[in-house]
Amino acid sequence: MSTGQALQKKTWMRGPSTPLRGALLALLLERPGHGGDLANRLATRLGETWKVDTNDVYRLLEQLAGTGLAVARDEPKRGNHGRTHLVYHPTESTSAALSTWMETLLPREPVRLGLQAKLAVARPQDAPRLLVALKAYERECLVLAHLVFPTDGEARSWAALCMDCTRDAISAQLQTEVDWAARTRQRINEYLQRRPSALTR
């Protein structure tokens, strides 16, 4: 499959590892690195709530290389003459793929994690795409919250009470998500108001 086809079909944006693949693209664009280096940088950027497995990172880098979004070169290890390791570099398609990921909400993706990964590695020029993605996510959560059937406050059985409690849990989770998305948009907008030049960097 050619790089063009791979990008067109966005095969790399399928599956639960998509946020990690997207974040790796951003890290590659910042600077090339070998698998261990990229795994460390990824773990630092995504924070404690992510369990970044180094072996997974190697596997994901191979996948990205297979779709033409990264290229691996055998390069000498620094300070260890004669020995080499695989260093991953971005390709000419990497930046466009990263932009596409930034503005795409994937229905089967654990969405907030996906957005968190984007926020962790976003470039200033990604701000408009992030704002679009956050607004879409806010609306998606609002639509889901709207679908929750209201209770009438008079649970007549234990089963009805459990149902009410479940609905309440869903509503509370979605409300938190709506608040988080709105607050994040507000933070980004306020930053852009203070530093409008950030977009043109």
Binding site: K135, E138, R139, L142, V143, A145, H146, V148, F149, P150, T151, D152, G153, E154, A155, D164, R167, D168, S171, A172, L174, Q175, V178, D179, A182, R183, R185, Q186, N189
Partner: protein, 238 residues
Amino acid sequence: MMQLLSFTNATKAYADGARALRVLDSVSLDLARGTSVGVYGTRGAGKSTLLRLAAGLELADSGSVRFEGRDMAGMTSGERAWLRRGAIAFIAAEDWRPLAGESVMDHLCAGPLGEGVPVHQARLRAQRALDQVEFRSGAAAETAALSLSCRSRVMLARALVQEPRLLIIDEPAVMPSIGDRDRFYALLRRAVRERRISLLAASEEIAALQGLDVLVSLAAGELCSTEPAGVVVPFPSV
């Protein structure tokens, strides 16, 4: 189709020290006759400002707020106050001002009597409203001694007595029990459905607004809606 209430690029800012704090930023929202819209937002998000603009208690700095096609800004303050005594009922928790010794029935009849409605008709309206909020037994109770839950029901009854076309309700009360809160909103939904009143309700809790036709969130002056802009939701068939 003429909307009952229509916000078009409505903007409202308040002074925050030396700078202007934009509470509503070019907000557009349509409310068709007989439909209900819930406005969700955290404290300070601008919900109350949106509702006060809808009730004509404040005017937009730019853009327009129209009720039945008439721009609120084009009305006199007397015309807007007249609307709030009839076509638009506005309920906010801070507006609860019971009088010493006043009964719930007297409290409910005060509005219609002030508009020249005959006593027996005012009492009939009040009785019907108390039935609707399931507080028939409270007619003789003293308003100053009501529990939070009963107070909210009486406030709703007072709005219903007015026989409005639009009911605007701003977080009516902090209920001591979740069951009381859910029961109140169930009564509210049923009342507006049965009386075919349009509803604009605001709350800090999404759960309180479930079951309404449209849900919107308000943050940083910007609206996010479950409905695409311009979509009119028809009144559900009963």
